[in-house]
């Protein structure tokens, strides 16, 4: 088994395939349908024993760094127009890379306006294993 992160970006990544209005311009029913679909998708992954976690992130973030000896941390932002903006993630634990691609492809078919798939790009990143090795 291997864990993969499916990263959802608000911005960044390849050019969108479909020209889709932002979610706050969808009908309330379309928003509900989208959210229900996402919940059902996670539920199916629980049933297949592949679900690890999912989280959504607030769009507004702050950059923070060490301020130097005896000084408070330095903060910067939020930046309204950051090039790459991460919206959230889904973590899965699957048998193969092929299965991870299959899950990501299916996840990208979440319904948008008119119930049509939004064709959202998802970034698929493998986790490094973190166990102490048993062999050299």
């Amino acid at each position: 088994m291997a864990k993969y992160l499916l990263l959802k970006h608000y911005r960044g990544g390849p050019a969108p395939v479909a020209d889709i209005d932002p979610m706050d311009h969808w009908t309330p029913e379309e928003v509900d349908a989208h959210i229900r679909w996402m919940g059902d998708f996670a539920e199916r992954l629980r049933e297949t024993g592949e679900f690890v976690s999912d989280q959504a992130l607030s769009p507004e973030g702050t950059f923070v760094r060490y301020g130097g000896e005896g000084r408070p941390p330095v903060t910067d932002g939020p930046f309204a127009e950051t090039k790459d903006l991460i919206a959230g993630w889904l973590i899965i634990d699957v048998d193969t890379y092929e299965r991870a691609v299959e899950v990501a492809g299916a996840y990208s078919a979440a319904p948008g306006p008119g119930g049509k798939p939004i064709y959202e790009w998802l970034e698929l990143r493998p986790f490094m294993t973190d166990t102490s090795p048993t062999t050299e």
Binding site: M1, T48, G49, F51, M128, D130, T131, S132, P133
Partner: protein, 381 residues
């Protein structure tokens, strides 16, 4: 009663329930419930007959579960009348459970999870923790695995090869959680050896013992990897080495070689060398030739190149490596090592950096980065 003794009893208890007519899936759930109850109550109130206690409690749980489904009423009445079997059949039952849990229709991850629960006697929570997934996810993985094998008859002949592979996977998962999976794999492999007396089961047990023996020397206190050549050999566990070598020799004497025996033979030759300079690389290289013949695995060929490099010099090692597909895991790391031995420090540093970039394990990545940094510093003088 300590926890591992308790867990030793689990597959036999499931076997009793199945023999009394319970289906495997429900029986296994009932035994898990009995196990959880035992873990909670035995420390205060240990039973005189632990196995009898488990059978009684698990059977009651099973009957309750069966009763809740009216369609099962008839069968329940029938099986309740059957007498309990004798313990002579325990070993057969247990071995059959191993075969079932490693059934070829299961994915490796499902087989591992089911084996750890149904024959290992681990709780779902412990397995989930060891594999870093939510308990609900692991519970689903186990129940799906049970559905997959639901139609398999328990007395169907099984394949020892798949059982050994599952145990090998468990061993390699290491020891991140509360349960030490390497030790758990050793415990289960010992059971398989006792039940089957198969050479390859012994080979796998020897391999595990010999690798387990080096664990304390394999990482620093901070968790950094220590390569075999730099390990403090006084920290190797001589008891485990002695046992591993004895198990291996008994298996090899029967002259039915297999890949686990060969891997164990290589590990034994390392264990046998008091210092790294006294390592018998010529013999290790010969065992690698044997392993290539048996498996034709490209990763084995990469590791063979290291042995050839030590036995016949880095140029010979690089020539052996050149026969392997460069995309194979560890190729860059092995090339880096051989290039450094050949005095090509700049190439070696680059290849260590490449290997770090491609690494899939954090400790390995850090180790390879450190190697690249060491060479870069050496070149700066």
């Amino acid at each position: 009663v300590n926890e591992s003794l308790l867990r030793d009893l689990i597959p036999a208890v499931t076997g009793v329930l199945v023999r009394r007519g319970a289906d495997f899936g429900t029986a296994e759930d009932a035994v898990q419930e009995a196990l959880l109850r035992a873990l909670a109550t035995w420390p205060r109130d240990p039973p005189a007959d632990p196995k009898g206690w488990l059978v009684t409690v698990a059977w009651r749980k099973f009957v309750d579960a069966a009763r809740s489904e009216s369609a099962r009423q008839a069968r329940e009445a029938r099986v309740e009348a059957e007498p309990p079997p004798g313990s002579a059949e325990d070993a057969d039952d247990t071995l059959r459970l191993y075969f079932l849990c490693a059934h070829p229709s299961l994915s490796p991850a499902s087989a591992v999870a089911l084996t750890l629960r149904a024959v290992g006697g681990l709780t779902t929570r412990q397995i989930a923790e060891a594999y870093l997934v939510p308990e609900a996810t692991m519970a689903q993985r186990i129940s799906r695995a049970k559905r997959t094998v639901a139609a398999v008859r328990l007395d169907e002949p099984g394949d020892l090869v798949t059982v050994l592979h599952v145990l090998y996977l468990v061993f390699n998962e290491g020891y991140s959680g509360e349960v030490d999976l390497a030790d758990e794999a050793i415990r289960l492999t010992r059971q398989v050896v006792a039940m089957t007396d198969a050479e390859e089961a012994s080979g796998l047990l020897a391999l595990m013992l010999l690798h387990r023996a080096r664990r304390a020397a394999r990482t620093t206190a901070e968790g950094a990897l220590v390569p075999l050549a730099e390990q403090d050999r006084s920290r190797w566990d001589t008891g485990l080495i002695t046992e591993g070598v004895a198990v291996l020799q008994a298996a090899l004497a029967r002259d039915r070689l297999g890949e686990y025996q060969v891997q164990a033979a290589i590990a034994a030759l390392h264990a046998d060398a008091p210092t790294v300079d006294e390592t018998d690389w010529v013999q290790i290289a010969e065992w690698y030739d044997e392993l290539v013949r048996l498996t034709d695995n490209p990763v084995v060929r990469v590791n063979r190149a290291v042995a050839v490099g030590e036995a016949d010099g880095p140029q010979a090692g690089l020539a052996a490596l050149a026969e392997v597909d460069p995309s194979v895991a560890r190729y860059a790391a092995v090339e880096a090592y051989l290039r450094e031995r050949a005095g090509e420090l700049a190439v070696a540093a680059q290849r260590y950096a490449d290997a770090a970039h491609a690494a899939t394990n954090r400790a390995e990545r850090d180790h390879l980065t450190r190697q690249a940094a060491r060479l870069h510093a050496a070149m700066r003088g």
